[in-house]
Amino acid sequence: AQRVTQPEKLLSVFKGAPVELKCNYSYSGSPELFWYVQYSRQRLQLLLRHISRESIKGFTADLNKGETSFHLKKPFAQEEDSAMYYCALSAYQGGSEKLVFGKGMKLTVNP
């Protein structure tokens, strides 16, 4: 069964500190992974996808198939990074696609 685990519910750091939001997945096929972000009182939006291998707002995430992880990292956090972050796995099954979300993690960046 497909599963996405975000082991930490809360993370609080000071501005300028590095952040790493952990995500582990369980999937027998070839995974496609995403990070979504929800800023306060806004709708959910896509932050980045592993297949695009890009850096968005200073965030990067590398897919590690050996460790089945897709951790989100930023070397220097900013206050505007405070938000809920969701890791998600796209899985094909029976000819159709399904998106599985982790439970999310709240990042707070303090001044």
């Binding site: 979504y36 809920m84 998106l99």
Partner: protein, 112 residues
């Protein structure tokens, strides 16, 4: 505790047939409710959101409609399905503070 349900889990429908997907939330009152769709190979797209009974906002023009007949019930419908309606549909809710989204298990729709 709050829970969110969606059904059916999987649906295969012919082109031109009607659609009704249901989402219900338990354990909370006056939630904000959302319908998302994930088309093949893409991220989530917000289709509709609702802040109260009978209040529906549409994000993108499409073949679908949404209704909220009760406080904790959100329905996604179509009168005539298109092939392009195939995808994975997720319902989500937030409290009035709107800070955290909680997702349902989703419905896989295949239109043939």
């Amino acid at each position: 505790s709050q829970t969110i349900h969606q059904w059916p889990a999987t649906l295969v429908q012919p082109v031109g047939s009607p659609l009704s997907l249901e989402c219900t939330v338990e354990g909370t009152s006056n939630p904000n409710l959302y319908w998302y769709r994930q088309a093949a190979g893409r991220g989530l797209q917000l289709l509709f959101y609702s802040v109260g009974i009978g209040q529906i906002s549409s994000e993108v023009p499409q073949n679908l409609s949404a209704s909220r007949p009760q406080d904790r019930q959100f329905i996604l419908s179509s009168k005539k399905l298109l092939l392009s309606d195939s995808g994975f549909y997720l319902c989500a809710w937030t409290g009035t503070s709107g800070e955290t989204q909680y997702f349902g298990p989703g419905t896989r729709l295949l239109v043939l």
